[in-house]
């Protein structure tokens, strides 16, 4: 449903047998962005900035947003396998791929399954690996608002925080969070938010240029996991952001966009 004033469109497109909710905007080479465990948070400043140089594709994964849940998808590898066919159907072979948190884990699985399908990979505070130090924050023992808040180092210094997490979420947003929590649960209840084989599978990314971005103060996925990603993916580069929590693209949007643009254009 495009409106004249906005830089993006939202539609349902058929992909791999599913009506996929897809937000699209910008111009330039394709950049697919995979959302995290609470779904698509809307068109943010970072999207606006990246859309000047790239055509952004922001799908809602099956089970999130308006994309219908697929009962057969019982884990992240199932989801990744489905997405590869969706990318075929959307004719997005050769795109850049970026994922946040749970979406970072998904991106890593997809890339490991089919590294030649992508141009470059950006993993932003991805889940998927058991951190050598610390534990991944248990999102299912708190309500969505508490979980979101814990993901920021300093909410008061993050203007977009209240857009993502208003003081009084309306019923539509509360419902969207519940739907997202349920699918996140399906993908990651146990083992929680990780897959033991992933570090070994990631070795296949040795030919795919990969950037890992992490907040030094990530209270959701401990930054110790960044080292495992970095070591598991030969040739990958790691950017750590100071005074930054689990959402660098929101909390440090300018810095984040600069890192990503620099990486994708190099």
């Amino acid at each position: 449903m495009a409106t004249g004033a906005q830089a993006w469109t939202e539609q349902l497109v058929e992909a791999a047998g599913v009506n996929l909710q897809l937000v699209k905007g910008g111009s330039g080479p394709p950049l697919i962005i995979l959302h995290g465990e609470l779904g698509h948070h809307g068109w943010l400043r970072c999207h606006q900035a990246l859309s000047r140089d790239y055509t952004l594709y922001l799908p809602s994964h099956p089970g999130f947003g308006a994309t219908e849940r697929q009962d057969w998808i019982m884990n992240m590898r199932d989801m990744a396998g489905w997405y590869l066919e969706a990318i075929d159907d959307l004719d997005l072979s050769g795109a850049n791929l970026m994922g946040f948190s749970l979406g970072g884990w998904l991106a890593a699985e997809m890339a490991a399954m089919s590294p030649d399908l992508f141009n470059k990979l950006v993993l932003v505070s991805p889940a998927g690996i058991k951190p050598p130090e610390g534990e991944i924050y248990d999102m299912f023992l708190v309500v969505a608002k508490e979980f979101l808040t814990a993901g920021f180092h300093d909410t008061s210094a993050t203007p977009e925080f209240l857009e993502i997490c208003p003081d009084e979420p309306d019923s539509e947003l509360a419902e969207a969070w519940e739907v997202a929590r349920e699918e996140a649960c399906r993908l990651s209840w146990r083992p929680y938010m990780h897959y033991a084989g992933l570090p070994n599978l990631l070795h296949r990314l040795k030919r795919l240029p990969t950037k890992i971005v992490w907040g030094e103060d990530d209270a959701i996925v401990p930054v110790s996991a960044s080292q495992v990603f970095h070591q598991s993916i030969p040739g990958s580069t790691l950017a750590l952001l100071d005074n930054c929590g689990h959402h660098p693209h929101v909390e440090k949007a300018d810095e984040f966009v600069a890192i990503v643009k620099d990486f994708l254009s190099s």
Partner: protein, 432 residues
């Protein structure tokens, strides 16, 4: 009328501070077991078993147990252990398990063996209920809440098949996989122990019980929505072409009897003191709102009228954690607690029976901060005065229990003495 006795077996430690109206708040899954006192635990387990023996002596038909995990309000983390002991140390009463939390176990075959052994040792006195468990159970044993209902149904089918179909056979389901099913213990009752279903919230569960033609027991819910939920059961039965009645429905609520009205009030207030169940109205525990809405555990759109009431009473489902709001006086007023002398208690029980017409009832007593003496006084008075009066009322109101009239057919059983054949024939099978 089938009359059972229940207590949730709280861990009562006056020294812990988690006790009494001015104690520290108890939030779900937030109390560390570092405070656990082994001597106290041993005393309490034995106390609760002693009270069950006395309840049988006082004439109760059923001794009910339940199970919760990682919480001080219910010490029955392995309820089947208590049931096993009761199987040996009691003689007559049914051992009513309401119930085993079948979705949270990855090995339902172990339940098949445990329950068959309990049925054997008790010579056919087991009533084997199932529950889906609360969020805390899914968390404590770390089983996917979103598959709770699917696992419930598949585990039920597997258990019933293992009880009724000679092995060995293979089971290749969605959630359970067994290459060799051939347990070397079979149930004493034929075809298998009756299966009952307790519940408070889920419409799916109630409808399933009606489809299975098995008794559905509402747990400490308020009367009007309970009545509505039971009507839904009866309507479903009618649609399915059988006549349900009191034998199909049961109700558990708080009933305490004491020697004087003063003592009854003083003791009745203990229901809402100490580590009582925070999920049930009026207690002092604090809910963890995330556990109330664990993703996918209960269909958010398919809840019973009781849940609508509970949610409103709790200030909405998604709000911040809060102490449940229904004070003792309100619970007395709406009959969810009845406490008094036999003279005042009996007419109030009559009112409940007239209103919701259950064939099975369970008196929930000896809970919260109540002591062993509190529980024993009440049991004695129940046995001497209340149970005989309630049986008369039930006869007058024509409220047959599930061992008098077959819940599956609505037909009375032919009286039989002793032995496993007295069990409801075809009370449930997976294919019903």
């Amino acid at each position: 009328m089938f009359i059972g006795y229940f207590t949730e077996r709280p861990y009562q430690d006056p020294k812990s501070g988690y006790f009494g109206a001015t104690g520290k708040p108890i939030m779900d899954l937030s109390v560390s077991n570092e405070i656990y006192d082994a001597q106290l635990g041993a005393n309490l387990y034995n106390r609760y078993l002693d009270e069950k023996i006395y309840a049988e002596e006082m004439g109760f038909d059923g001794l009910m147990l339940n199970e919760h995990h990682s919480t001080p309000f219910c010490m029955g983390g392995a309820m089947n252990v208590e049931a096993s002991i009761l199987a040996r140390i009691t003689n007559r009463a049914k051992i009513v398990l309401l119930g085993n939390i079948i979705p949270i176990w990855d090995d339902p075959l172990w339940l098949v063996e445990q329950l068959s052994m309990i049925d054997m040792i008790s010579r056919g006195r087991l009533v084997s209920g199932w529950v889906r468990g609360t969020g805390r159970e899914s968390v404590a044993h770390n089983v996917e809440p979103h598959y709770n209902w699917e696992r419930f149904k598949e585990a039920h089918e597997l258990i019933v098949k293992a009880w009724t179909t000679p092995g060995p056979f293979r089971w290749e389901g969605k959630h359970y996989h067994f290459r060799h099913v051939n347990p070397w213990v079979r149930p004493y009752q034929s075809p298998h122990p009756p299966i009952w279903l307790p519940g408070v919230v889920s419409r799916d569960s109630l409808m399933w019980a009606a489809e299975q033609r098995i008794p559905y027991i509402m747990l400490a819910t308020e009367m009007e929505p309970t009545k509505q939920a039971f009507q839904l059961y009866h309507d479903t039965a009618e649609e399915l072409g059988y006549e349900s009645g009191p034998q199909n429905i049961g109700y558990l609520w708080k009933v305490h009897v004491d020697e004087t009205e003063e003592l009854a009030e003083q003791t009745g207030r203990k229901y809402v003191q100490g580590p009582s169940n925070p999920f049930l109205a009026g207690n002092e525990g604090t809910n963890n709102p995330a556990l109330l809405q664990l993703p996918g555990l209960t269909s958010r759109r398919r809840v019973l009228p009781t849940q609508a009431v509970a949610t409103a009473a709790r200030g909405g489902g998604a709000g911040p954690a809060g102490v449940l709001g229904r004070p003792y006086e309100q619970q007395i007023a709406d009959y969810t607690i009845i406490s008094g002398t036999p003279k005042t208690v009996i007419p109030r029980i009559r009112h409940v029976l007239e209103t919701i017409r259950p064939g099975s009832i369970f008196f929930w007593d000896g809970d919260g901060a109540m002591t062993h003496d509190d529980a024993m006084r009440s049991l004695r008075l129940m046995g001497q005065e209340v149970l005989p009066a309630v049986r008369e009322i039930a006869d007058e109101l024509e409220l047959p229990g599930p061992f008098e009239v077959d819940p599956a057919t609505g037909k009375p059983y032919v009286a039989q003495v002793n032995g496993p054949a007295a069990v409801p024939e075809g009370a449930t099978t997976a294919d019903d």
